[in-house]
């Protein structure tokens, strides 16, 4: 399992998750491929979503409207989808809450393919 934290999720969630015993790889968008998929692939999200699907990432995001709509477009394309874990907006600033939920997600879905992980935290 590999978790990709969206830009509006605090990068500190990764360290909090590790302190809770989380074992899987956690990467923040700013560090993923050195940030090139966002900086150098134009103005849309589909290029990096396709790459995240190919690489079997689960995206942790509070953006349920714009990002998940684009993920639905990718679904229509028929390509490999990344998984996603949607964070409730009221908990978006709560690093500990997100880390605890990701630890629970790891226990629940560790053996699943990323594309099959579509979870509302």
């Amino acid at each position: 399992m590999r978790l990709l934290l969206d830009h509006h999720i605090s990068p500190r969630v990764a360290a909090a998750f590790k302190r809770l015993g989380g074992r899987c790889e956690v990467t923040h968008m700013r560090d993923w491929h050195g940030g090139i998929y966002v900086r150098q692939h134009g103005e849309g999200d589909l290029p990096w979503l396709r790459a995240a699907g190919r690489e079997q990432w689960i995206i942790v995001t509070g953006d349920r409207n714009t990002l998940l709509s684009d993920l639905a477009l990718l679904n229509e394309e028929g390509g490999e989808l990344p998984g996603f874990a949607a964070v409730n907006p009221e908990h978006l600033a709560d690093i500990g809450w997100i880390a605890r939920k990701l630890a629970a997600l790891e226990k629940a879905c560790a053996k699943q393919r990323a594309c099959n992980v579509q979870v509302f935290l």
Partner: protein, 147 residues
């Protein structure tokens, strides 16, 4: 009847494009299925905003265009949502590990385009479990996934 003052009067912008740009404009007009006047207005507004908010740029999604911190997909509306809890300022910059100038730019943009930002936050809040389940039939709540 009130007369519009000089500053309130909106003057049309007329321009033509060189031949090679004209062809590209026609292609984009067809691809976006929007009249060129709409597209040109949007581009001009965005360019004027970027002059005032140099830390920002615009990204596209299937739901439209929105302002983000340059080089990221950290949207102003994402930050406005976080600012409800953390406030605009150092705490938000520290939470996101970004420079305070980016937060200041986003705050100023959010104040100028208050309705646009609030509408994006509202649209996100209205996209709940049931709505997403229609698009993603395998969607589960975490406690269901754990059981």
């Amino acid at each position: 009847m009130k007369l519009k003052t000089q500053s309130q009067r909106r003057k049309p912008v007329y321009f033509t494009l060189p031949a090679d740009y004209e062809k590209r404009m026609a292609n984009i007009e067809a691809a976006c299925r929007r009249p060129r006047a709409d597209l040109a207005r949007e581009w001009a507004q965005e360019r004027l905003d970027l002059i005032d908010f140099p830390c920002l740029e615009f990204r596209s999604s299937s739901k439209g265009r929105f302002a983000v911190v340059r080089g990221t997909r950290l949207a102003v509306w994402h930050m406005a949502l976080l600012a409800r809890t953390l406030g605009w300022g150092k705490k938000l910059a520290s939470h996101l590990e970004i420079v305070p100038e980016a937060v200041a730019s986003a705050e100023a943009y959010s104040r100028r385009h208050y309705a646009e930002i609030q509408a994006l936050i509202a649209a996100n809040e209205q996209t709940g479990f049931d709505e997403l389940k229609q698009t993603f039939p395998n969607l589960r709540r975490l406690d269901e996934a754990a059981s």
